[in-house]
Symmetry: D2
């Protein structure tokens, strides 16, 4: 299996299984001279770690990160940055049963058909736990973005059919509740809904929106590596994502060109801007100076305690009740994962963008 | 600029501008021994060529393809396959005006900011004409799929708010009208709508659906190269796409786990199958044996004759009326492009999948 | 077959067979804003084209290049640069015989075993003619180097056991004879030797040396993409090369550390320099500010008219006399190929080097 | 800095500094179903670990490897294999002095110029200690080769001007002495020479030869990824290598085509073979069925205790005596590193080779 390495210049290689000894990530291609300490990584990991909200798994993991290489005297040196998180609270016995059958909505069936062998303990490599490595790498990418004054944030836009009101959206409210839903009323309704789901031994889905402000114009490479294309891969690589849309997204199929086109204008200082932002900050596959906006649809957690029908490895039809400690919804914990994947993509495209023009290359080598 | 090369093992490199001498594509990594002739490519190109439907551009191009390398005595040899299409009917004079301002909804602004230079004639490299190279490469990929008995087709699912009825969907009806809309009634309504758009000097958007049948289980590599992730990049790399969803897509965010999970069962022959296909044929990032299903939302063509506001290179606010020969809708011509990108992705993942398991490697080298 | 794409950021994709319709190359990742015309490419192609020296093949090819994309008003635009050379003087009938047997020293046997099919006409893809695409791409790379004031030149150091005298080496003498041997006396001896070879229906080998001056310090990425490693791949990818060495090369295995280490010193202007250059301009896998120096050993052309033993496809032992128009030595024509591969590598590493340090990234995005 | 990831399908990502907390490697793309335990890795690491011969550094490291992911019940699962070795005996104080000046023959100068920051402790990332990660990854690659009955071994061919006698070469004698020199007499002379070197506070170089037997025909991809080209990168990426040659190597430049060509013949069983092996097992960039043979020249260890001239960071000319525990020769410890890099390359090319031909792809997907 290949597939665990992402990025052209800022290259992230992740490894580890849910119930293995540890999980980790190696970043190859991080520039030298960035101030980086364990706390920079830890604070991001803490946002996704189990127990960060009442609707997440009850598995107890401190998810303490260790930086093993790539920094010296508090700064990156340009060499690969290796980070590791040891597993602690894995109850593999909870999973021994799974070895014999295929859980609906999970990778069990496909994994076994492809590889002929399956580490069934906690889902092995297919576990959502794998995303902690993305968050660690994303924390490094975010440091780079912040140095460049680029601001990136994601939040829960809706859970089931409960959506935040966009009218008085305020990003400072994102962290005000454990659902990362910047609308107190919607968050309360969602909590009630989720408690009902849990009582029914069921699970729920939702939508995350991500916004990036202050991006330079021109990120994204033409044709196959357009900004939305690279993000498309990155976002759909998050396990439970079933849909991604940019700007006005699917609704553009209903509009006319005259409605959907964003008119340009020069403001009083002569700066060229767009009157509207239907495009979500992308034109011709490149960032256009407006905020980058996109949404992801997450399916309900497939692990539910409710009785389900399935089949054993030997082809026997059975009814199952999945045990273990599972999130009734993964959306709130996925918010930081969305940010991480986005940050990695942007850093890579920021780097690639630097050699678009001979002029800047000449300037670099003159000094 | 990089960005014009796609694929890990079946690698496609495209080149060419709308009003340049020619456009072309090179495929590196096509196996030897596949019967391939120009007609295989031409028939696909004819499906997207201008004039293939009354709602496409009036530009006249025969789009005749020439295979310049990589075949011998009617078969691929394993060496790079180079294909070329010469431009004929380019009216660059239509575009001289564009040199001075930025068209709304187009790459003009971002391209110029990134590269400092812009081939404005017909949109240069950002023209939809670039997609003919994808269709040519896709035609080769489709040959490989057909040898493996994998069936792939796309069609127009909706134009504006006119959608086909899914109830009596029949893929044989896809080519019955020039909109590739397999529902005669919907197609007629759409035609009326599009004529109205044209009368209003405006344009329309729509949705394409793509289905792939008979895929082996296990295509897609874990974590970052999941089936939906690689498709995500490929599909979002098509110029006007603003949304992509797999299976039940965005609507899964509204459902519960117990509704969205596809139960497994063993059929009378012991074959493991899914009772439903909410997942759209993907589990754990791999094809799961059910049909692969996904949809793409296309924005309305940005080139409209209607008056629009914009700004010149010098920052002067102006009103413009775009000239030239433009499609009032690109969806029907994009159907074959969606198929092409999908075919390329599947071939690449089919190849990668062959080395998942040591057993098959041993078998290969024993013979 | 994959294998025809080279380079990470300055990516070169070549295609074409010896007796096909054409050969060509696509460069993806060339920055915008470089003055480039057909003559820039043609003058390099003319240095390698058949007939450029009396000891080359008698095949007559004008090798006229056409730039098909990627430039506008005399400058690169940042889009892929496609270049093509049509084949003219191919006598495929000369080769019909080869179809039935395997020429010693050639790719016939391995190619057929690997692919099951072989375009035997002129060696197909394995022909030395493939290198013209490298020279075309190298010409673009050289333009970039020259803008950065980096000087690159290669020359014939020896033919058989006739070597130039290093004592009065002058690079201006390289082009003074058709063997690119900057030592008139050695060149005359070599000519006599080569004529004897031809009379004996035999062929000769030789050594090329390449020197690059004025490289910035720090080119090359640590561990697997050291300067000598990337060059190692590039140089050994030239068909007949059997050995590559940097600086003092193989002879260092005989020396002691105290002899081989190059002492640093600060000159009168405080500039840090090396007293000697045993390292050939590389330290720790990176360019060290001294001239980059390396040598390549070329085997004698395998196509000789002399009687040879071999075997047919059916396994019959036979004697053969190879027909066709072959170079009794390929070294002089390979000089420009060595320069081309070197230029591509250096440009790629120059680009990669620009994102080593966060400081330069901040500076780029501030302006 | 990028550069620490190697391989297209069998992808190896290394990390770690000489005096950091640990070093490690992640393999992405190892097939499932290979029996693998820590002992498989440890026995290879033990061959290169400090103290494995009297002429190596006196640093004491157990170099105990831990497999952290990618195996389950003793077999690879197809997921990334992460391996780690913790540093124990690092005396960073020995190196504090180095912070202020540039050691001749080392990466100090270039590293600092490129990155602006340098982890000087033990050479940081440029330390030879980095190669243990290659050996660990190579151990996994060797397991794959051994399953396919491919035999790979390297040995010390010469130290300074003391060379083994090729006449009675026996690979079983390689491990009979700590210099891995399969010729007892030569080994004794070399020991005497090395002791003299050490007495003189100096160091020595040498040549390693590597042979691979039983390779299938056809490994290597045409043009840029020829077998010798990929090996060229891999071998030159080993720190102290200044020259690489295949088969008859540099001496081919002296021969004639009639001498250098290897004649084919069909043996009594109809198997096609070569009478000689001047080519070193490579034809047209692919393995040709004969043993693969190549040699690498290593420079003398640059760290010597003898007085040397150099310059401080501030540009002051000084005399230095390097302290610390250094190998007077690295050749014997590099033998296993050469094997490791070769094994990685071969595994990658074995995998790539499997999709050369449509026939085998059809066969794979039929079963």
């Amino acid at each position: 299996m290949s597939g665990s390495i992402f990025g052209k210049l800022f290259t992230v290689s992740t490894w580890g299984e849910s119930h293995g000894k540890a999980l980790g990530v190696v970043i190859d291609g991080c520039p030298a001279g960035i101030a980086l300490c364990q706390e920079d990584i830890q604070k991001e990991l803490d946002r996704r770690k189990p127990g960060s909200n009442p609707f997440g798994t009850k598995r107890k993991e401190s998810d303490t990160v260790h930086i093993l290489s790539g920094t010296f005297e508090g700064k990156t040196t340009g060499t690969p940055i290796s980070m590791i998180v040891y597993n602690q609270d894995h109850h593999s016995s909870d999973y021994s049963e799974i070895a014999s059958y295929y859980r609906p909505g999970h990778a069990d069936f496909t994994f076994e058909k492809k590889y002929g062998i399956r580490d069934y303990r906690g889902g092995g490599r297919s576990s959502g736990r794998e995303t902690l490595c993305r968050v660690a790498a994303g924390a490094v990418a975010k440091k780079i973005l912040s140095v460049l004054h680029i601001e990136l944030f994601a939040y829960t836009k809706s859970i089931a059919n409960i959506s935040i009101s966009q009218n008085h959206f305020n990003k400072d409210n994102i962290t005000k509740n454990s659902l990362f839903m910047p609308d107190e009323k919607a968050a309360q309704q969602a909590e009630i809904y989720l408690k009902k789901c849990m009582a029914q031994q069921d699970s729920a889905g939702g939508v995350i929106e991500c916004i990036v402000e202050n991006l330079p114009v021109g990120l994204g490479e033409t044709v196959f590596y357009k900004l939305q294309a690279v993000l498309g891969q990155a976002l759909f690589s998050i396990g439970a994502v079933k849909g991604v849309e940019f700007g006005d997204g699917f609704s553009v199929s209903m509009t006319k060109g005259s409605e959907n086109n964003d008119a340009f204008f020069a403001d009083d200082f002569g700066k060229i801007q767009k009157k509207t932002n239907h495009s979500g900050g992308i034109l011709g596959g490149m960032s256009d100076g407006s905020p980058l906006i996109f949404r992801l649809a997450f399916k309900p957690t497939p692990s539910i305690h409710k009785t389900q029908h399935t089949v054993t490895k030997d082809g026997k039809n059975i009814d199952i009740n999945i045990k273990g400690r599972h999130d009734p919804i993964i959306v709130p914990r996925a918010v930081v994962v969305v940010e991480a994947m986005t940050a990695m993509v942007l850093v890579d495209l920021l780097f690639q963008n630097m050699i678009s023009n001979m002029e800047s290359i000449i300037k670099f080598y003159k000094t």
